[in-house]
């Protein structure tokens, strides 16, 4: 997995849409103002000291964004150091990575290591 962070906050209604390409993400980014916060495709919400969804399946090349909804800082750290770790995310801060090679990637919060999650990357 390669990594980079983004300030974009995306909010898009997902109703059974399985796959979104990057251009759709860009559109979603423009739709954010004044809209209710509805989880986007490939967004992992950190809330109540848990990653939700705990297991997320994405296609190689897709972006994955974590957003912290707790008042406590959290981090996203690959257990096997397979992708760059986040810095501490304060409330409403985000961290984004781009899914790399197909495989299973486990991660945890290094501040609260009871918090764990899994990303499953499949072929695009």
């Amino acid at each position: 997995m390669t990594t980079f962070t983004t300030k974009n906050k995306t909010a898009v209604l997902i109703c059974g849409i399985a796959f979104l390409n990057l251009s759709l993400f860009a559109i979603a980014g423009e739709m954010k103002n004044g809209e209710e916060k509805i989880p986007t495709q490939n967004q992992i919400e950190i809330k109540d000291f848990a990653f939700n969804p705990q297991i997320l399946t994405v296609k190689s090349g897709e972006k994955i964004t974590w957003i912290n909804r707790d008042e406590e800082p959290h981090t996203v750290v690959s257990v096997e150091k397979q992708f760059k770790k986040s810095t501490a995310l304060d409330t409403d801060q985000e961290f984004t990575v781009t899914a790399g090679a197909p495989g299973t990637y486990t991660y945890f919060c290094s501040v609260h290591p009871k918090m764990t999650g899994t990303i499953v990357v499949v072929k695009s």
Binding site: F49, T75, S110, K114
Partner: protein, 320 residues
């Protein structure tokens, strides 16, 4: 105190009733004394009314914890102000403590400016000697380098920052259990630190009073919320032979106490914000209380040692 532990389902020395009693007392301040394994208590108000002051002791020191400088959310929008109030209380003590112990989470986000604010405010404290252990909030992004550079300058620390020292015949041990945490686990001391601990106490006589301080509790307070340390049993195993061991922790922002053999475990209040009692909220995050009640759930802990007495007296007082 015979009714303190009536239902010890978890074999952890505390039941719900005892826990709630403990929490009720925490709000009003309490003197804990332990003699021969029996706990006795007085409220701070009772002590204040007594004609005689607390007996002179050979050593008194103070624990402050979880100042979280930089936190500004609903639970306390001015943690610097409440930290100052705690220092005012220390400055007002008729017998100043010999030194302070800060049991971690100095800052909220390990930012240099947060450490700066803490240091600046602390300059107003009459007691100048402070011994630190880090909380997970102090080592968020750099493995604790900034913390160590600032707070371990005058101490000969090992590894990621653990150390020991002796004062007035009491052996103090500062442990680090917030670094290199493993996925799915709790707080961790690690093999290198455990080996050091074993060697550190090896030549001490069993009558030497021991005070251990670390951020995350060294007993299983509530592992579901990460309130415990995976390898604390091993550490405590090295201390079993001693007649008096006092374990001081922070992290959970509330007073909890457990006595196990000659070991007294004690967690301190925060000077910043309270956290919920174990299992009473969806998560262990900051607990919002009415602003007029906030200071009653923040506080500090005074510890007194008198030579010849087997146990140390531990007194919690709030900031009301």
């Amino acid at each position: 105190m015979s009714d303190y532990i009536t239902h010890d389902h978890e074999h952890d020395g505390i039941d719900r009733r005892g826990f709630l009693q403990c929490m009720a007392w925490a709000g009003s301040g309490l003197l804990w004394t332990v003699s021969g394994g029996v706990l006795a208590s007085k409220t701070l108000a009772e002590i204040a009314k007594a004609a005689d002051p607390l007996p002179a002791t050979d050593l008194s020191f103070l624990q402050i914890s979880d100042s979280h400088i930089g936190f500004s959310k609903e639970a306390n929008k001015d943690v610097t102000a409440t930290f100052k109030i705690a220092l005012d209380r220390i400055n007002a003590m008729s017998t100043p403590p010999s030194f302070l112990i800060h049991t971690g989470d100095i800052t909220q986000l390990s930012k240099p400016e947060e450490f700066d604010t803490f240091d600046q405010v602390l300059k107003g404290c009459r007691t100048k000697d402070v011994f630190y252990v880090p909380g997970e909030h102090d080592v968020l992004n750099d493995g604790g380098k900034l913390y160590r550079d600032r707070y371990l300058k005058s101490i000969e620390a090992k590894g990621s920052g653990w150390y020991s020292f002796s004062k007035n015949g009491v052996h103090f041990i500062g442990l680090v259990n917030v670094l290199d945490l493993q996925a799915g686990g709790l707080g961790q001391l690690g093999d290198e630190q455990l080996e050091w601990l074993e060697a550190d106490v090896k030549d001490l006589g069993t009558s030497t009073p021991i005070v251990v301080f670390a951020h995350i509790p060294l007993w299983a307070v509530y592992p579901q919320w990460g309130w415990g340390t995976d390898d604390s049993e091993q550490a405590l195993g090295y201390l079993k032979r001693f007649g008096s061991v006092t374990v001081l922790n922070g992290h959970i922002h509330q007073v909890l106490q457990k006595v196990e053999g000659n070991v007294t475990f004690h967690t301190a209040m925060s000077t910043a914000f309270p956290q919920p009692a174990p299992g009473t909220a969806p998560n262990p995050g900051p607990l919002n209380v009415p602003s007029e009640k906030l200071r009653s759930v923040l506080g500090l802990t005074s510890i007194q040692y008198k030579q010849g007495k087997s146990a140390l007296a531990v007194v919690d007082s709030n900031l009301s």
